[in-house]
């Protein structure tokens, strides 16, 4: 069998040249206008969007870390303050206790002193009363002795002695 053997693909054909120019020219124009332009725009927009989102995220992250640091500082400060307050409170407590103790001691001392004073006063009063009683008793004894002296000297002495023994200092 025989084909038409003509290596025509290597011969520039005016018809094909013109048609290719027209078709490719139109393709180029239409595609760049109605297809590549919107795609390019959307891609560019998306890229900007993504980049700005990333940047924003980075900024947010930085802010977060800043905030965190600030918080930590605040926390540390608070902790410090707390310990200071606690310390103050403790000091105040100690002061109060010491003060109270002092005052209690002073009161006690005052009470004791006043008690001693009272005792002393009572004692003096008792001594006075005793003295008075003893004087009276001595007078009584003397009276009795004087009455008994008349009978027996020895008895008199014994009797005086017993009287003296009977004297109880109350």
């Amino acid at each position: 069998m025989v084909f038409i053997v003509d290596f025509s693909v290597i011969k520039p054909d005016p018809g094909l040249l013109i048609w290719t120019t027209v078709i490719f020219g139109l393709f180029w124009f239409i595609m760049s206008r109605f297809a590549f332009k919107p795609i390019a725009e959307s891609l560019k927009k998306r890229e900007i969007d993504i980049q700005s989102s990333l940047d924003e995220a980075k900024i947010a992250r930085e802010e977060m870390s800043n905030l965190k640091a600030e918080n930590e500082i605040l926390l540390a400060k608070a902790r410090e303050e707390r310990s200071a307050i606690l310390k103050e409170a403790k000091d105040a407590k100690d002061d109060i206790i010491a003060d109270a103790k002092e005052r209690a001691n002073a009161e006690y001392k005052r009470k004791v002193e006043s008690a001693i004073q009272d005792i002393e006063n009572q004692k003096q009063a008792a001594i006075i009363a005793l003295k008075n009683q003893a004087g009276q008793m001595a007078i009584e004894i003397a009276e009795k002795v004087l009455r008994k002296e008349l009978s027996n000297k020895s008895e008199q002495e014994a009797y005086a002695k017993s009287l003296a023994d009977n004297i109880t200092l109350n």
Binding site: V9, P12, D13, M31, A35
Partner: protein
Amino acid sequence: MFSHDAAQPYFFRKNNFSGFYKRESHCTFAADLKYALPIVDMTAFRKYWIVLIFSALCLPTFAQHEDHNHPQESGAQAETSADANQHPQVDAHHGEEHSPCGHPIDAETEGVYNAGDAAIHHIADANSIHIFGDIFMPLPCFLYAPGFGWTITSSSAFHPHHHGSGEVSKDGYVLVHGSVMRLKDEALVAEEQHIEGYTHNTVSVDGKNKTIYYAMINGSCQELVNKSTYDGGLMGGGVTSFYDYSITRNVFTMLLTCLILFLAFRAAAVAARRREGQAPKGLQNFLEPFYTFIRDDVAIPAIGPKYEKYMPFLLSVFFFILGLNLIGQIPFFPGSANVTGNISITIVLAIMTFILTLISSNKHYWEHILWMPGIPAWVKVILTPVEILGLFLKPFTLLLRLFANITAGHIVVLCFVGLIFIFGKAGTSVGGSVAGFFAAAPLTIFMMALELLVAFLQAFIFVMLSATYFGMALEEPHGEHH
């Protein structure tokens, strides 16, 4: 790794009804592929059968196209015998004997098959598209003969039959194997002629072998002339009596490809606008990486900050070439046209690159071409012609590279398919055809896979080099001269 039983053959496993396979925490194609491959657990034997079945599915188009010259061939090609029988008058006129004006081109010469000739015939442009069997899609014909005027018709007006050869002439034009030719004898132009058959003869003109075609009209041989081509006679063409501005198979494929590309990109563009602020998906998600690839890996590194102006051209060229390369790989109807493998198309694209380079060029660029600074004057005298030559060689290599790669790919695929006919002794040996099929199928599959790579590679190289040329034209002086 796999929740299901890996020992089970992949196809019989459960839970793969929802898609190609069950998705498990994969979201990229590469990951999917890596995941899918180890599951497809087939023996080499089974794989070979799948390859063969696939090639058998691809093959009828080629086989159909070629084997209707061999009515003796049986089996799968049986219907072509019927095709041949429908037009017995064509064959009856010529038979085996040589007519006075050479060999009849539609004759059934048994046992003769030339794979190279078949391939060269199939890569050529045509005025009608062969779809299946004897079904041809007619295309509009815009023919212009200086001194005669325009003839606007359809290729169906030539009443094409077997092989796409016309039975009648119109305004002196005839259809031979799907291509328009014109009668040399102006006397026959005026009225419609009935063509009994076509013959060809090889004659020696000025020591060069030239094939001349004849139409048989009323028993006499009438010489035919090819359409005009602008090769200046270098490739056996030249300006003849008419020009063919028809919507040929290549033009039709170009229009179709551009339409498909436009619809796809328009859908992506509309989606990009409508789904603003949302993640891309679907077709938009598929096409956008191509865009960013051309932008980030071609335009920006090669051109620099002024890249944006060139993006539409680079993208258009890339997708135009890629689309045509890929559609040319499809072996059946809307595809198979060898468009980017036709020098006319690559010439136009290369010229556009060349013109854009010239428009972009600055003083620094011309200074380096015409009078390279910083080198001795006597070197400049040698260098300047080389640089000026280089100016034109750059687009020339651009057009030649694309043309040669795609044409070569088509020829190799067609030659592998032709193995079936070589082994089958052009249809006389059924056993040989079967053996040829088993030999040709894996080779064709391999070649087509390679061509798929070449389709992407050549489109990429074309834009990459175009962008480099634009970048060179735009380059600013670096301060110090070298």
